[in-house]
């Protein structure tokens, strides 16, 4: 009895998941697999400006739908991915890109992790050398 109830709960959840996939926010299909691929990649890397932590592809708001339409039209008109990105950045700024471009303003953002890693490595090397320098002294000079 209990078991059948559990099964039906799981069944309902499964049906819900299927229904949700069918009702995805963006049911668009592009005419060729290549365009479809580019469309999906672009809409996933562009931010929905209204909900800010969602991509255009994931957002159900109307503005995201309008911007997806814009991406779709530009791709169908033969525009390149770079042209689509430039179009969005000209209107909404760098913030619309989930992966910020490398510019003078964002340089530190990209370089800081590497620089910090390098500093850490240098400190580590120094500490190891210092310790290594201490050890032989102890060996050479055991108690005066």
């Amino acid at each position: 009895m209990r078991r059948t109830r559990l099964v039906s709960v799981w069944g309902a959840l499964g049906a819900l998941a299927v229904a949700q996939a069918a009702l995805a926010v963006d049911p668009t299909e592009m005419p060729t697999p290549e365009l479809e691929q580019r469309y999906l990649a672009l809409t996933h890397e562009l931010r929905c400006m209204q909900c800010q932590n969602e991509s255009l592809a994931d957002s159900p708001v109307e503005l995201a739908a309008d911007l997806r339409q814009e991406v779709r039209d530009m791709l169908l008109a033969g525009k390149s991915d770079a042209q689509v990105r430039a179009f969005m950045v000209a209107r909404y700024g760098d913030f619309i890109l989930f992966r910020p471009r490398f510019t003078a303003r964002t340089a530190w953002l990209w370089l800081a992790p590497g620089v910090l890693l390098l500093i850490g490595a240098l400190v580590l090397v120094r500490v190891i050398r210092q310790r290594a320098a201490l050890l032989p002294q102890d060996d050479e000079d055991p108690r005066p």
Binding site: M49, Q50, E62, D66, E70, V89, A90, Y92, G93, F95
Partner: protein, 179 residues
């Protein structure tokens, strides 16, 4: 002494950088428009008062105006309406409206009911012009100079404070058309 010099030398700049980040947090919530300092995007859209007639961005050149994006579905627009009427009464510059993804009849009823602060309202059903202006949430207002350059942008409700502190000081006194 020497042992602490390096950690402090690293820690202090870090504190300074993070402190700047925290103090600037409120202004970072508003996303700076890349449009500031650039020409206001062109458009040619139907006039809300008379849809046969068109409103062209080019026709607005030659004087300062405030370009206000609104819609009857937008709560913040209702909230700022009093300020818009105040701006109209101040006769410093005309308000040009962009009715964004709205129903024409409802928009006209809204203006009849609450008062119409706009010199002219362009209708953007498809939302294409709003995208060109980088609009992401109404209300938004753009201060545009006689050369058609976007000088300042307000995201969200236009309050009396924003009007007197941010917009008025940027507009030189000019004879208001029709006054």
């Amino acid at each position: 002494m020497n042992r602490f010099l390096l950690p402090v030398a690293v820690f202090v700049p870090l504190v300074v950088i993070l402190a700047i980040g925290i103090y600037r947090a409120p202004e970072k919530e508003i996303i700076a428009s890349p449009l500031i300092g650039k020409p206001a995007p062109d458009f040619s859209l139907p006039d809300l008062a008379d849809p046969v007639h068109r409103v062209n961005a080019g026709d607005l050149r030659g004087r300062w105006y405030l370009f206000n994006v609104w819609g009857t579905w937008c709560g913040g627009c209702r909230a700022e309406h009093e300020t818009l009427l105040e701006i109209q009464r101040a006769r410093v510059l005309p308000l040009v409206g962009l009715d964004w993804k709205d129903d024409d009849a409802q928009a006209r009823a809204w203006l009849t009911q609450l008062g119409n602060p706009y010199a002219v309202v362009a209708v953007d059903h498809a939302g294409r012009t709003a995208i060109d202006y980088g609009v992401y949430g109404a209300p938004e207002s753009f201060l545009i100079n006689p050369q058609g350059i976007v000088v300042y942008k307000v995201v969200g409700e236009l309050t009396h404070d924003v009007w007197t502190r941010e917009i008025l000081p940027r507009v030189p006194r000019q004879p208001f058309p029709g006054s």
